[in-house]
């Protein structure tokens, strides 16, 4: 490898490579030390809801069915106190061309790439997004490369990710399979530079605006089917695009539903660890992505992440791997829907949350995804056992990520664990202040922090001074 392509050299060219491959000049939106004009970025760089719907329709994306889960609702009611047990609905996003809501995100990016004359598109993703980009690229006649983290140092691939390699290949993409490690980004940058392809990042305004139609549709459908507004929308949360886009869509439909993020609890497993890589049974929708992206969204593969989950989350809860497996089975045998895994994280949470809501209320699980070889619970549990994970039935809370998976013995054992959003906001603050250094924060920066955390300005100022152990320099200046 020539030094021109060495790790340090390529990483040093990161800004330039990303700029060329996104077609977005992010510097236009920069404001203070920390602040950037988020809404302006969303409005000027992406498309309106109507345009997005039109672009998605052209490739068969969206307008997926909203289904009422009557038997799961009945089961939840049988466990709930009298008068409790909200109606549970699910949006069957598996009906999208590539089998998940990710088709919505890919649709806009690939459309944009084509419009701007790029020959091909690339995405760094081990998830459903790869298949989504590959499928959309096939429809629009572009070349596609997907870069995935697939196997550990022993050459053992995660079955769910291998399935996604297969799907990408089926749609005609070139698939780069890598071993464990965040230097995937380096390989990605090198390839962007070599090919001059469009970076169909999950985190551009296109990647987020594409999800807004999901939120908008589910409100329209709930109104049509029930004559009511959804009271709660539960969203499987990882990188934050699902929460952000869905919530923005809800608002555009004039819906005030509570937005609850749900992730699989993977506490204790390190996402960049070669050893831990194959000790988890869920490759997304887990806290290993959900927390880092909430406390610092701008770790993404674009200068400014359009997914900003803390702006939209009303609550953030976790469930265990065992609970998600249980509810996946329940969805298949009670409702006749073989789906998952990722969407079933929010379904497990919704099943527990429904029992705390009134019977007339409506809780919407905003997605399903296609299942198949590798993704299926039997495949994952077989793989878990091969990797030394104990699988048994019992109280799911006794499961330890990376050591054991405990499948409930009774649906009444399915519970959500609340993560304190204020604590997550504190971590966000710490990260923000670490970036800003000792430099002055302008009034614009403080307003930005207030928007990011949904704390009011005086709370922001108080938190900062507590954290810095002093007063803030430059407050009110720079406006």
């Amino acid at each position: 490898m020539t030094s021109h392509h060495s790790y340090t050299e390529v990483m040093a060219r990161k800004g330039e490579i990303l700029h060329k491959s996104s077609g977005i000049d992010y510097s236009r939106f920069e404001r203070g030390t920390l602040a950037f004009a988020y809404e302006e970025m969303m409005q000027s760089a992406a498309y309106s809801l109507e345009e997005t719907r039109r672009i998605q329709k052209a490739t068969g994306v969206g307008d997926t069915p909203l289904l009422e889960l009557q038997r799961l609702t009945a089961l939840a009611r049988s466990l709930a106190p009298a008068g409790k047990g909200a109606r549970i609905f699910i949006k069957d996003e598996a009906a999208n061309p590539s089998g998940s809501f990710k088709a919505r995100r890919a649709a806009l990016s690939v459309y944009e790439a084509r419009k701007r004359g790029y020959k091909g598109v690339m995405a760094a993703t081990s998830g459903n997004y790869g298949a989504a980009v590959a499928s959309q690229a096939a429809m629009r006649g572009l070349d596609c490369i997907i870069v995935q983290e697939v196997f550990d140092s022993k050459g053992r691939g995660q079955p769910e990710i291998i399935e996604k390699s297969r799907a990408c290949e089926a749609y005609g993409a070139e698939v780069i399979q890598l071993s464990v490690g965040p230097e995937l980004f380096y390989v990605f940058l090198r390839l962007l530079e070599e090919t001059g392809f469009f970076n169909a990042s999950l985190y551009t305004p296109f990647g987020i605006a594409g999800v807004e139609t999901l939120g908008w549709e589910l409100v329209e459908q709930t109104r049509r089917l029930t004559g009511r507004e959804p009271d709660v929308v539960v969203v499987t949360h990882a990188g934050g695009g699902n929460v952000t886009g869905t919530a923005r869509g809800l608002r555009q439909a004039g819906c005030q539903a509570q937005v609850i993020g749900a992730s699989i609890d993977l506490t204790g497993l390190h996402m960049a660890s070669d050893r831990d890589f194959n000790r988890k049974s869920f490759t997304t929708g887990h806290t290993g992505f959900g927390l880092p992206f909430a406390v610092w969204p701008d770790r993404a593969d674009v200068p400014r992440n359009a997914a900003r989950p803390l702006r939209y989350l009303d609550r953030y809860v976790t469930v265990t791997q065992g609970e998600a497996f249980y509810i996946t089975e329940a969805l298949a045998v009670l409702e006749g829907l073989e789906r998952g895994p990722a969407g079933n994280t929010s379904l497990a949470a919704a099943f527990a949350l429904a029992q705390t809501l009134d019977r007339e209320q409506i809780i919407v699980v905003q997605e399903t995804e296609y299942t198949g070889a590798g993704k299926h619970p039997h495949a994952q549990l077989t793989f878990a056992r091969e990797n030394g994970i104990e699988v048994k039935r019992g109280d799911p809370r006794t499961g330890v990520p990376g050591k054991s998976i405990v499948i409930p013995e009774h649906p009444g054992q399915i519970r959500v664990v609340e993560l304190e959003l204020d604590q997550i906001r504190h971590s966000y603050f710490k990260n923000a202040l670490a970036r800003a250094g000792a430099g002055n924060l302008s009034g614009e920066d403080l307003d930005f922090l207030a928007e990011e955390t949904r704390w009011d300005r005086s709370r922001v100022e108080k938190e900062i001074s507590l954290m810095k152990g002093g007063t803030i320099d430059g407050t009110g200046s720079g406006r």
């Binding site: 071993s179 230097e183 960049a272 045998v333 070889a373 077989t382």
Partner: protein, 113 residues
Amino acid sequence: MQEIASLQGQDNSGEYAHKDDWVEIWQEILTSGERAPQIPSDTQAVPLEMRVRGFLLEERAQAGEKVRIKTRIGREVKGRLVDLSPSYAHSFGRPQLELLQIREEMRTLLRDQ
């Protein structure tokens, strides 16, 4: 020569691939010493590896040899030949009793209401 298995554990020893066959190649991207400083020590200790599939450009090659391929989108990539017929062997796994028991339990709960 270092032995590198195919991802599907295929044994390719002694066999030849021919021009335009669909094969898998392997490349070391970063040695263990070149890895990013922030990653955990177990990952630091191993190289970053890459596998890519494509059509063989050489007339004839054996597993382990350095070859060039043309990918699905026509890109040329070099690496060591590791799989002469890369397949997908992921499956639905073995039946898991812990899941198979659930239907009957739930139906009983629904009936007893």
